[in-house]
Symmetry: C2
Subunit: 313 residues, 2 copies
């Protein structure tokens, strides 16, 4: 009898998955019926594919569901849902990781090379009197050494940047100076010239970049946030930009998205806003992760990317 997979991620996403998901399930050898609306009998559902923009918020009736498979890497909008008793899996999509590595590497190099001057400044004056430092002289710190942070850190190491990584619990990433815990945080930030925030959004990580921690960075440092908007205290960042402590911030995520048109980030000359494009789940690759987790569930193997509800990610 085929499994019932409830695609509850919503009608906006279904057109993107309509092709890849059945194909990935077939390739994994899984006989499944995919439904895109809440079925009359919720207890018939074996797996729920979900996104925070999805069409259900009460998981109670899905008594037989063996897992909720999130299409997003971030789970902060679902992890606190008290009705969710089923195992919850995050999406760790190789396409998403690749996109994130490209965004981080690109914007780190942009700030490292001082590109904006040339992109903005076509005034006919030839200024070649300052040789920029080499990457090996530019200290980069990455907050967060999960799948995305670790991959970005290694791409930067390959380009010779001395990279420090910080995570809540100790990690080991080859070539990266890895620090953890509260004391490690100050050490990781002190003197950093470029900081990239790739932490999950949890009560413990909110405002990790605030007035106190921004003051630890090297004067004129750059901030790149492709992680979560809540990681940064917006007002403290604006104050640090205005004082010159931070030279520029490139922000992809915000507390409110879309970023409201009257938010000061839009008009600030030292802020680059990108509209949550650093890393998108790619249906072609994500569908295979979903299928693999369903295969594991049926085979009694541990799920990939299972969320620890206590830690919040």
């Amino acid at each position: 009898m085929p499994l019932t997979v409830f695609f509850a991620a919503g009608p906006n996403l279904w057109p993107e998955y309509e092709g890849p998901l059945p194909a990935a399930l077939a390739k994994a050898g899984i006989a499944a019926r995919i439904v895109t609306e809440a079925p009359a009998d919720p207890a018939s559902v074996d797996y729920i594919v979900f996104a925070p923009t999805g069409i259900i918020s009460d998981f109670t009736p899905y008594t037989r569901a063996k897992a909720v498979l999130n299409l997003w890497a971030g789970v902060e909008r679902i992890v606190g849902n008290a009705t969710l008793t089923q195992p919850l899996c995050r999406m760790v999509d190789p396409g998403l990781t690749e996109g994130m590595v490209e965004y981080v590497t690109g914007h780190v190099l942009r700030h490292h090379l001082g590109m904006d001057t040339h992109i903005h400044g076509q005034d006919g004056v030839w200024r070649n009197d300052t040789i920029p430092p080499l990457a090996r002289e530019r200290r980069v710190t990455i907050l967060g050494l999960g799948e995305l942070g670790a991959a970005a850190a290694q791409a930067l190491v390959a380009l010779n940047f001395p990279v420090t990584g910080w995570s809540r619990t100790a990690r080991d990433v080859p070539g990266v100076r890895c620090l953890s815990g509260a004391e490690g945080l100050a050490q990781a930030l002190r003197g950093a010239q470029i900081v990239v925030t790739l932490l999950p959004n949890t009560p413990a990580t909110q405002n990790v970049l605030n007035g106190d921690t921004l003051a630890l960075l090297a004067p004129g440092a750059f901030v790149i946030n492709p992680g979560r908007g809540a990681l940064i205290d917006d007002q403290a960042l604006i104050a640090a930009l205005d004082s010159g402590q931070i030279a520029h911030a490139t922000l992809d995520v915000f507390r409110t998205e879309p970023l409201p048109a009257d938010h000061p980030f839009w008009a600030h000359p030292k802020v680059t806003v990108t509209p949550h494009i650093a890393a998108d789940t790619r249906p072609e690759t994500a569908a295979h992760v979903i299928a693999e987790n369903i295969r594991r569930g049926e085979a009694g193997e541990p799920f990939l990317h299972l969320v620890d509800r206590t830690a919040g990610y």
Copy 2:
């Protein structure tokens, strides 16, 4: 008796080498006297350190000089000097290579990610409806697979770009689709979405990007030239930018430098001018290359980076 090393690269460069060059010679175990002005007895000179901005143009009197050691990678302004009969070595400086790899990788990612829109466009409108392709879907072609081209190609391969490389004579660079010769050139350019020019300036490479070859690229391709100004037919490039065949050109080198203030590249909205900063010789690392070549000369070993006068590089 100590060797006589004539630093003929000119008084502008001497302050940068005054510290590193004696230190590198000492470290290589070479007893040498460095002179910075043409000596009364030119036949006393053992080695000439040179740059095209230097203080001699007639090498005839330097009858004992065992080599002319150029501080620049490009030798087009010296290779045709009929008075130069001594062996001529190019500079291949690890610092210069690193800087070039950073410039190329940074600007390839900039165009790949479409950064300029966000760097320029803070208009308060959230546009996140287009997911950019991944690097693995973006075809990059590098013209020139020498030290710099090969290093840049490998950095791009590490970021998943499918890279095609072209060189006059056949080369083999791991992970890179390597082509050579006249037919290989058309094949390398056809359908490329980003082209990076890192060829030496020789009669055979001048105007390698012209109206015909630019037409082979994918519509809306990007051109990045950190190599030599003469590699591109300026008028053909402007025509291709105006027609939309080329979306943007980022140029670091020009036929006349400094680029004249009235040159159309400065004002063109689809051209980014950088003032020959892609890769600078770094005295700290270059001094060791000079010292190593002097050591080799004294030991009767072959020089590093010896120029082939026939090929012109």
